[in-house]
């Protein structure tokens, strides 16, 4: 996948971040992350420094803590982690090592999406080289042992959800856990665990290498730092872009050559659909959040195709554990198809909205909670495309 903008990460000197981290006590490393204001790059946007602090301070009965890299990049329309793992694996592995030092872990696991199996050998090579260089293994620093294993996923979207990922790592069905307790308190094998996205670890390395002030000076007050976006769909120049967070959607479209877009799905299947009238909105945690997916829908797209595609995706990828997601995703797909066929009464449309609300409110994990997002935003902004019977546009 083409990288379209200069990448800050390409200029980050390998090893500098880890050296900077190991030269100070672990708690200060956490402080640096907190000072950077960084929030998780996987999409949920939890403050990274706070996550590390919670894991470092959580009670670990047998002394074990874990660092887990979520490389199960399965959100439709997201491919920036693939680029990082292919081109900047060292920064990712270095970030995991820094996290391990910061929270007192001895072991890191990289959970690699099944479809990315072709990256495994190069990752294993990187790990071997780092061991040879003393950057992993025994005595990375006095009293600090740390190593990383690669664990292959098996093709389930839900395993990108951190607690389902942990279940999968432990050898069980990938099904989300109840939270609380959160993984920072009881994660892998019941031990305090930091689960971060690939990009989060890469930027953590940069934060340590260049200082938190540098990172915090980019982006907005509440969404600091640069962000990688996977831009796809009806644009002239699809690919991976880097922008400071807070960038207006219109600016991304200009860069990628898609200014005539009808809508953009920001955040992938679990995200939301932003209509052209709102292209002034920004990509940021305070406005339109995304883990990186930025799917552009051109003027000729029939958006009910998008609705059906997303609904099919979730009906297929629901783990099946909780009732509202297992049954709701199927009911929603059925609803989209009935809309397309012109078989929906105004009452049916109202029922589908209520169904979406139920799924958001009652599903156990983010997958189910976010699965009606695209449908509901399309219903709101594109009633004609969605074949909503006239007179039922509003609630």
């Amino acid at each position: 996948m083409t990288v379209r903008t200069p990448m800050t990460l390409s200029a980050v000197e390998a090893g500098a971040g880890l050296r900077a981290a190991l030269s100070r006590p672990p708690a200060e490393v956490v402080d640096q992350m907190v000072a950077s204001g960084m929030r998780g790059r996987g999409g949920a946007g939890f403050p990274t420094g706070l996550k590390w602090r919670l894991a470092a301070e959580a009670d670990a009965p047998d002394g074990r803590r874990y660092v887990v890299c979520n490389a199960d990049e399965g959100e439709p329309g997201t491919f920036k982690d693939r680029v990082l793992l292919a081109k900047h694996a060292d920064l990712v592995l270095e970030g995991m090592t820094i996290a391990g030092y910061a929270i007192g872990a001895r072991e890191g696991l990289l959970y690699l999406r099944a479809e990315y199996v072709y990256l495994r050998d190069s990752l294993l090579d990187s790990l071997r080289e780092r061991r040879e260089q003393g950057l992993l293994g025994r005595e990375v620093a006095p009293g600090f042992d740390f190593d990383i294993r690669v664990h292959m996923g098996a093709g389930a979207y839900v395993c990108g959800e951190e607690s389902a990922l942990l279940e999968s790592l432990e050898g069980r069905r990938g099904e989300p856990r109840d939270r609380p307790p959160y993984p920072v308190v009881r994660g892998l094998h019941g031990a305090p665990t930091v689960v971060n996205n690939v990009e989060t670890f890469a930027w953590a390395t940069a934060v340590l290498a260049r200082g938190p002030e540098w990172f915090a000076s980019i982006g907005t007050h509440r969404s600091t730092g640069p962000k990688l976006l996977s831009v796809s769909g009806d644009v002239a120049r699809p690919g991976v872009y880097e922008f400071p967070l807070g960038v207006p959607i219109a600016e991304v479209l200009r860069a990628a050559g898609g200014t005539d877009a009808k809508a953009v799905v920001v955040g992938g299947a679990a995200g939301s659909c932003v209509p052209a009238s709102e292209f002034g909105r920004t990509v940021s945690y305070e406005d339109v959040a995304t883990g990186g997916a930025f799917i552009v829908l051109g003027p000729d797209r029939d958006l009910i195709d998008v609705a059906e595609n997303v609904a099919e995706f979730f009906a297929d990828e629901s783990c099946g554990q909780c009732a509202p997601c297992r049954l709701g995703t199927v009911a929603l797909l059925d609803g989209v198809r009935r809309l397309r066929a012109g078989n929906c009464t105004p009452d049916d449309v109202a029922r589908l909205r209520r169904l979406g609300a139920t799924m958001r409110l009652t599903s156990k994990c983010g997958l189910g909670q976010s699965s009606p997002n695209v449908f509901l935003s399309l219903l709101e902004h594109f009633p004609a495309d969605m074949r909503v019977p006239v007179g039922t546009g509003g609630e």
Binding site: D178, S318, G320, C322, G328, T358, L361
Partner: protein, 618 residues
């Protein structure tokens, strides 16, 4: 010391230990929150999402069953948002549930039906069809109808966690998520032990016993058939629950009348055969002790394991065939009785065994499987034609308008008459051990069991602790009693011996005991271990009324122990070897004594090592 936190639930305040779930907190405050996947016997997983509540300060809703309360807070369980969310989930569940409640065995007791009624949710206006699910009708005891499954996973947790069996699991994802056996094989072809604990915890009719009541109605209506029924003590302590009585209401004698009204020609007491089991198994224990301790032979090894529970027997055959030699060769009371009915009783009555329909009322679904065992037949006919569960009999009674309120009491029929109190307590975990010890102590020491345990109540083996142990020192020995004279030269070798005995209920506890035994742990030094497959023993069997819980099971146990005590107060025998009908049988039929050739032909059996992967290795 656990911290206490104050919770305000819909305006009701309650103080609870930190970490209590919101559901338990609400329960403590007297606020009912609807649930489907929650069950008091099982670990909560929060999968049905019906128990959603508002937690003050949180944007979304939380599942009360899995939300731990760790600080003072306010919960709302009845806000419009909560009620709408619950209704939304119920609409989804009803939207794929088959619309055939009137013909379902669970109608009226179905938890989904009750909640749908409460929230005014009917079958979905726009039903979402799903492919017809497989109905497993091949098993002898348990029917699986996944069409009615709501995916609460109570059965999976029951099987894997409560019972440590793991026959049921989850396969597929999304809309094709389904409960399944290994490779989707029929239950008859996997190592299911038919304990039916999954049925007891299924909120709908997706799991149910194999139903042969139509056949039984036909037999009852057929004047050429002599239909007899034996009733086990556990169903008698529970059937009242099916008719609106409090759990633990004893209805043994009223049930006798009701069964006659239903058309049974004779009503017998399975506890009679339980008394017979005590004599046969007690003799077997003493012979094994003699062989192992005196003769140094371990052909019939110790500890002796009880064999009354067919689920447990099948479990051992599947999981641990190397230890089948530990299993008592005694048939279960149901099968001892079945054998006597089709042979001796038929002869006494001058009836062709082919005209006798032998029915049993059992708390148990595994009894259905046991009744089909080829080794438990005579001339190709099963000794027990039909094993009926408590719930099935209740449904039959309702179908005929027969209740239990205001029904006069009546006794059991001869020639078996009634049983002893010992035979009655077979219905509760520890009961077989208590009965056997009462008899063994008296036969060996020549002294009343009351000299060893007040009122002959052997309380250390009572209760619901998963595994319980007792040691009894035989401080004196008497002369060999006549009933054992053909088996043992004297009892001197037992003088001063301390019998080490244990009781385990639920297969998870049984597995822990067996694991210890295999590893040469303390249970390998034991002499006698009672095992029941179901939590609580027979009173918690898979054929018992729903719902089940520790509270319900304790109430049933109280009723059973009270019946035993009442036997003592009313002058009936409380010890198996004092049951006059049993002694008469040894005089008239089993003339070569306990463990003799006649006993072995009629009352003992053999076992089959089955292994774990039954179907896969066909």
């Amino acid at each position: 010391m656990t911290t206490q936190v104050a919770v305000d639930i819909d305006g009701r305040r309650v103080t609870i230990p930190a970490g209590t779930t919101a559901l338990d907190a609400a329960d403590a405050a007297g606020v009912r929150i609807p649930t489907l996947c929650h069950h008091p016997d099982l670990r909560d997983v929060g999968s049905c999402r019906l128990c959603m509540v508002e937690v003050e300060g949180q944007a979304g809703l939380q599942a009360a069953c899995t939300y731990p309360v760790t600080a003072d807070l306010r919960l709302r369980t009845d806000s419009p948002r909560v009620v709408d969310a619950r209704r939304g989930v119920l609409e989804l569940l009803m939207g794929e549930h088959p619309d055939r409640c009137p013909e379902c065995v669970r109608t009226g007791e179905c938890e989904l039906q009750a909640l749908a009624t409460e929230y005014g949710v009917g079958p979905a206006p726009a039903r979402v069809s799903r492919p017809l699910q497989l109905v497993d009708l091949l098993g002898p005891a348990v029917t699986v109808d996944l069409d009615a499954c709501i995916g609460c996973l109570r059965c999976v947790r029951t099987c894997a966690e409560l019972q440590d069996l793991g026959i049921l699991g989850v396969v597929g994802r999304g809309s094709s998520t389904a409960v399944s056996t290994y490779l989707g094989l029929p239950l008859a072809e996997v190592s299911c032990i038919a304990c039916g604990q999954c049925i007891n915890r299924c909120p709908t009719g997706a799991l149910r016993p194999v139903d042969r009541t139509a056949e039984l109605f036909a037999a009852l209506a057929d004047p050429t058939k002599h239909v007899v029924i034996q009733t086990a003590p556990a169903p008698r302590a529970a059937i009242g629950e099916e008719f609106g009585f409090e759990p633990g209401t004893p209805l043994t004698w009223q049930l006798n009348t009701a069964l006659r009204r239903l058309g049974f020609d004779r009503v017998f007491d399975t506890s009679f055969a339980a008394d017979l089991t005590v004599i046969e198994e007690g003799a077997e224990l003493l012979v094994r002790l003699y062989e192992n301790l005196v003769l140094g032979s371990s052909t019939h090894p110790l500890p002796l394991l009880t064999s009354c529970s067919p689920g447990w027997v099948t479990d051992l055959e599947h999981r641990d065939p190397d230890h089948l030699a530990h299993l008592s060769s005694c048939r279960s009371p149901q099968q001892m009785f079945g054998s006597l009915i089709k042979t001796w009783y038929a002869q006494q009555e001058g009836r062709d065994p082919a005209d006798i329909v032998s029915v049993s009322l059992m708390p148990c679904t595994a009894k259905k499987f046991e009744a089909t065992r080829p080794e438990l037949t005579h001339d190709g006919r099963p000794d027990v034609d039909m094993a009926l569960t408590t719930r099935e009999l209740a449904a039959m009674m309702r179908a005929r308008g027969i209740g239990l309120a205001d029904v006069p009491a009546s006794d059991f029929d001869d020639p078996f008459g009634t049983a002893s109190g010992s035979g009655v307590i077979f219905g509760v975990t520890g009961g077989v051990m208590e009965s056997a010890l009462r008899t063994v102590i008296e036969l060996v020491t020549g002294r009343p069991a009351e000299d060893y345990f007040s009122h002959a109540d052997i309380t250390p083996v009572r209760g619901f602790e998963g595994v319980r142990s007792i040691e009894v020192t035989l401080d004196r020995v008497g002369p060999v009693p006549p009933i054992l004279a053909h088996l043992l030269p004297n009892l001197e070798w037992l003088r001063g011996t301390t019998l080490r005995c244990a009781v385990a209920h639920g297969t998870a506890n049984a597995h822990a005991v067996m694991e210890d035994l295999r590893a040469g742990g303390r249970f390998s030094t034991y002499h006698f271990i009672e095992v029941m497959a179901c939590p609580g023993g027979c009173l918690g069997g898979g054929g018992q009324p729903v719902p089940t819980s520790a509270t319900v099971r304790a109430a049933r146990a109280r009723s059973i122990y009270a019946e035993d005590a009442r036997y003592g107060q009313t002058g009936r025998a409380r010890k198996s070897h004092e049951n006059p009908a049993v002694l008469r049988l040894y005089r008239d039929l089993l003339t070569d004594g306990p463990g003799g050739p006649t006993s072995h032909r009629l009352l003992h059996t053999t076992y089959t090592g089955r292994g774990t992967y039954v179907g896969a290795t066909r």
